[in-house]
Symmetry: C2
Subunit: 342 residues, 2 copies
DNA sequence: TTGAAAGCGCTAACAA
DNA sequence: TTGTTAGCGCTTTCAA
């Protein structure tokens, strides 16, 4: 930092690089944005100068001028849970392979916020958007009309006009329920997820089908509405356990809910799995840490993130790509939270 | 979306708002950026028009033109761990109170990346930077010269020229060790954190001081180097347990390390806490979920995040603010992973 | 209190 | 293969 660079709050721009390397600044732009038809020697000269000067592109200017910002946005409910963390890891890994940066918008499940963000994000700064279990989907039509690239993660689009990545929710729930049935359980409760999210419905359906296929009558009393968060699941489980004829097993629609259910069951003075079996969905890192270790349906969370990124980049590179839906396989992970019917 | 707005990929700009409200676009800019001296009626007219048109500011353009982007950047090693998640929650909550957005840069502890990011971030897009346990700190001087606002989280600055938020690392480690000593332990091992991070050193020192103050000779053999991650802690604990005279208690420099140690101890065929006591640091959400529940030193992680944001905004609003260091109190949380000496 | 106009740094035609 | 130039949308003097 000599006297020259420390003068005022200015940055090194392509103009500086141009001067330093003795070419026009549009040539610099070309080199820096990877344009092919530049003489090798020129390219080298520019690159060296940029290096020497510590040039860094100004993303705002680039995207203003119509270039790619190399930033993608992620709309998430919040950062403080293992589910998002794992997906984020996948996103992040894939993104860093292609030199993209990440803008995170946390909605805290606030609908107005989601909408505002969706608009703001689509307006300039980001090249595309990853929407993790969004609630509102009204803005999708606008995205489609603008050909703005986006991918839905773990949330369906009723109109089938969106690229979406999810996993076999119905199937996973079916297997979880079947597993409990095979352990001899007949009264199996379910704590649903937030019903605005398609996966919650799919899991509920999988549960129902498994019961039906095994000649167990579906009992609406055994359905407790949750929202994918621990506190409501805690309450839901409490409700379930206070039934005149309580369940001997509970299928929680995600692991966080399973943790809430475990708490509630224990507070009811019952043991897991001896008195009540509990099974979750997701297989977040904590699932293997709780006691007893949670039996759950594994979603390949990081892979979901990775696939979503790939689908997004595909759209960015090739606008107007027809919508695809990729559904990854879930798999039952048996640990210690389920046992044969007492 | 009528024919008008759906024509091409264009956005609503201040020019549109100006036309709609019948004023010049500089007036619109004034209203939108909260300039005081605008006739109330004009302001209202502009606001209505903006509302009606669904105007959203283009951040790239704004920051290019010299305004604030209302984006702050966070440099983190990774997203997939409870420690970061909790801090992020605090950051996020505080930020949304003031309508700032968040750009996340994950370095994966890759030094080159950290440096590149730091430069790029400081170059335009963000109004300030939060650095969570950064490794490299060479770029800080440049930030200082440019008066670019930043706050270090859980990492010190030897030159004392940075704003930093951390917690009482020395003290926390001291108390943890003292607690183990009071349980009767004499051979207490420590798994350190990544020594490039100041908190790791401070915790090691706290541990040493507690030993000395209680007349226990410090034994270098009982110091196993870790890096704040579970795998290396697992190995470190294995090393510790294979000593000719192994420790009866282990102080892990963070919870993740404690989890690794638990694994190792169990694989050595020993029980926790009956045979070996383990204590952690941080109190991440998982700490209460593992079995046995982890006794640990609680850092107010979300508060650290919140305070850091406030310090950053302070600098943004008031450049040249003299560096402050805020150290928040830790507190011992006794759970089930420690017991009296066997 | 408002308008006109000069850039901010960059990309992408268009020329040469 | 390279240079010239017209904006992108916005903030901020400077005038009125």
């Amino acid at each position: 930092m000599d006297a020259n660079t420390s003068r005022k709050n200015r940055h090194v721009t392509i103009v500086d690089v141009a001067r330093e390397s003795g070419v026009s600044y549009s040539t610099v732009s070309r080199v820096l944005s990877g344009f092919e038809f530049v003489k090798d020697e020129t390219r080298q000269r520019v690159l060296n100068a940029a290096q020497r000067l510590g040039y860094v592109v100004n993303i705002g200017a680039r995207s203003l001028a119509g270039g790619k910002s190399k930033i993608i946005g992620v709309l998430v409910p919040g950062l403080d849970n293992g589910y998002i963390g794992e997906i984020a890891r996948g996103i992040d890994e894939e993104l860093s392979r292609v030199n993209y940066d990440l803008m995170v918008y946390t909605t805290h499940r606030h609908q107005g916020k989601e909408l505002t963000y969706a608009r703001a994000i689509a307006n300039g700064l980001t090249d595309g958007l990853l929407l993790i279990v969004p609630l509102v989907r009204d803005y999708l039509q606008a995205f489609q009309e603008q050909q703005f690239p986006y991918v839905l993660i773990d949330q369906g689009d009723p109109t089938n006009r969106s690229h979406v990545v999810d996993s076999t929710n119905w199937q996973g729930a079916y297997e979880a329920t079947k597993y409990l049935i095979e352990l001899g359980h007949q009264r199996i409760g379910i704590i649903t997820g937030l019903m605005e999210i398609t996966s919650a419905g799919e899991r509920l359906e999988g549960y129902k089908s498994a019961l039906t296929d095994h000649n167990i009558a579906f009992d609406p009393d055994l359905v407790a509405i949750g929202d994918f968060w621990q506190p409501s699941a805690y309450q839901a489980a409490l409700d379930l356990m206070s039934l005149k004829n309580p369940p001997t097993a509970i299928f929680a629609s995600n692991d966080l809910s399973a943790f809430g259910a475990m708490e509630a069951v224990r507070e009811s003075g019952l043991r897991i799995p001896e008195d009540v079996s509990i099974i979750g969905f997701d297989d977040v890192p904590q699932a293997a840490l709780v006691h007893p270790k949670l039996t759950t349906v594994r979603q390949p969370l990081d892979q979901i993130g990775r696939v979503a990124v790939r689908m997004l980049l595909e759209q960015i590179d090739n606008p107007g790509h027809p919508p695809r839906r990729v559904t990854l396989a879930t798999r039952l992970v048996v640990r210690d939270s389920c046992a044969s019917r007492p």
